[in-house]
């Protein structure tokens, strides 16, 4: 069974605008640690959003907050280890550290070879 992890983490770099994502040390660290777990691949991007714990500003609005969005498709058997790693990377226990969602993936297709399922990931 294939699953997709979609994870939103609080960025450690405050000035995201002036830092290219390719130079983002946090993104590099995430990539390194996930590669050690032999995940088949990862997409990382920057996103904005809000959650239940977002704080209201002086105008009474809830401003959108910056997040790193990580997406990984992998086999179910690797889920727990990757989730634990992401929790660790996020600073587990801190309010607003982020959220992890897990969803089913019906199929995966590698376009170049037309491999499908697990074969398409590796």
């Amino acid at each position: 069974m294939l699953r997709k992890i979609q994870c939103f983490l609080r960025p450690t770099i405050t000035d995201l605008e002036s830092t290219d994502i390719f130079d983002d040390e946090q993104a590099k660290e995430i990539q390194k640690r996930l590669m050690e777990l032999e995940v088949p691949g990862m997409t990382i991007s920057r996103a904005v959003g809000f959650g239940r714990r977002s704080e209201t500003n002086e105008k009474g609005d809830i401003p959108l907050e910056k997040r790193l969005k990580i997406e990984i498709v992998l086999e179910e058997s690797k889920l727990e280890a990757v989730i634990d790693e992401l929790k660790d990377l996020a600073g587990a226990g801190e309010v607003g550290a982020g959220k992890i969602f897990v969803m089913p993936v019906e199929d995966a297709i590698r376009i170049s070879t037309e491999e499908t399922g697990r074969s398409a990931l590796y």
């Binding site: 069974m1 179910e76 889920l79 727990e80 587990a92 226990g93």
Partner: protein
């Protein structure tokens, strides 16, 4: 009568009468939900290894089969009585109703001391007992499971005996089988995992998180030990545990992996270093956030209920709180997650095993755990809502939910003929 010697059937009836009074249930309905549908007593003559013949008495009680087949464990113990099995079968009915599983309630037992029997004597006893109750069990009739002193191997013998008598393999006749014979993944830790989910739900209601909650666990058997492991994994601090030899306490938390190793190597948790020795009674009244009685019945009584300092009691054991002690806890606003909800994870994964058997399929452990969480969360929320609506304890609310579901099913099915 002393609380410790209380007849379990009388306690079960007392609990039902309390909820029936509160619900103003019609007396004819009270009788229909109270008395067992069927009680079978069997005598099992067994040839012992020394050539002598011993005859053992066994029971299978089917308390209710209104909402589905009977479901409940079989225990091997010298203290088994008909009244105990009747009470346990009624509690199975309520547990299955609270979880909204399509089962009635049943229980079985054999008066024997398995610790004084060889493996081959146990096998012969299990097979003879299964043949004797063969007429009233089956995948669509009544599905036994493990209980005190019965394990996956004994379930495998029940499964084999029943299948041989039928002439074909029947995976759905019993649950708690070894995984290689159709047992469900996740069954081993199911009771503890279910208990953990109810604790997490309770904490959420109090706007707390599990992180750093101090937890004392009485009992380090299947339920207690895995509760410790799972809750530590969620960030809780396990400050005290115990087994039949006594208990240990460290305000800074115990290391659960080490506890497992010490228990494995020495047979008891009290040999754990870096902790103070305490008695089982002292454990119950420790200053902690959550108390998990995961050992025997009637541990929390009128003798100690006033001294309990935990905010939440999660009843991983069956019947750890006497009815009189329960009233004291209720008056003191201690939040009790009642046994029929708190430890229902075991029967819920048994239900999953039965479903997998009927469909001839198998699920991954993750799938089992997620489905378990879903059902535990729903059951907890239903009971909690009821307790809030009526301003009553979680136990009374759980019984109300259960009795409501059973009496509705009786009404809908009608009386035959």
């Amino acid at each position: 009568m002393a609380e410790h010697d209380a007849n379990p059937w009388k306690i079960a009836c007392q609990q039902l009468d309390k909820v029936a009074d509160y619900m103003e249930l019609d007396q004819s309905m009270v009788n229909m939900v109270k008395y067992p549908k069927r009680i079978l007593q069997v005598y099992c003559p067994i040839k012992m290894d020394d050539g002598s013949v011993n005859t053992y008495t066994g029971y299978r009680v089917q308390h209710s089969m209104v909402r589905g087949p009977g479901k409940g464990g079989i225990r091997f113990h010298p203290d088994v009585t008909e009244d105990e099995v009747k009470a346990l079968s009624m509690w199975m009915t309520w547990k299955n109703c609270v979880m909204d599983l399509p089962f009635g309630g049943a229980k079985g037992g054999i008066i024997c001391d398995p610790k004084k029997m060889s493996e081959s004597e146990l096998e012969r006893l299990t097979r003879r007992y299964t043949s004797e109750i063969n007429l009233i069990i089956g995948p669509n009739v009544d599905i036994p499971a493990p209980d005190v002193n019965t394990d996956p191997q004994i379930m495998a013998w029940i499964f084999d005996t029943y299948s041989m008598n039928r002439g074909h393999t029947e995976h759905g006749v019993v649950t708690g089988k070894p995984v290689s014979l159709g047992g469900s993944k996740g069954r081993l830790k199911a009771t503890s995992r279910g208990c953990m989910f109810t604790i997490m739900s309770a904490l959420k209601k109090f706007e707390k998180t599990i992180s750093n909650q101090e937890i004392a666990i009485q009992g380090f058997g299947n339920a207690g030990s895995y509760c410790a492991e799972l809750l530590e994994g969620q960030g809780a601090s396990i400050t005290a545990v115990s087994d039949s030899q006594g208990g240990i306490y460290n305000a800074n938390g115990l290391d659960v992996e080490t506890l497992f190793r010490v228990k494995e190597e020495t047979g008891t948790v009290v040999e754990y270093e870096d902790a103070d020795r305490i008695s089982n009674d002292e454990l119950l009244t420790l200053d902690c956030d959550i108390l998990i009685p995961a050992a025997l019945e009637n541990q929390i009584t009128t003798d100690n209920a006033d001294d309990i300092r935990a905010d939440i009691i999660a009843e991983a054991a069956n019947g750890p709180t006497s009815p009189d002690a329960d009233q004291i806890l209720e008056n003191r606003d201690v939040f009790v997650i009642p046994d029929i909800l708190c430890n229902a994870g075991g029967v819920t994964v048994s239900y999953f095993e039965w479903v997998q058997a009927l469909q001839a399929t198998f699920w991954s452990e993750r799938e089992v755990n997620l489905k378990l969480r879903d059902l535990m969360d729903k059951a907890f929320d239903r009971v909690y809502e009821r307790s809030q609506e009526h301003n009553i304890s979680m136990r009374l609310a759980a019984y109300m939910v259960a009795v409501d579901r059973l009496s509705e099913a009786i009404d809908l099915r009608g009386l035959y003929p």
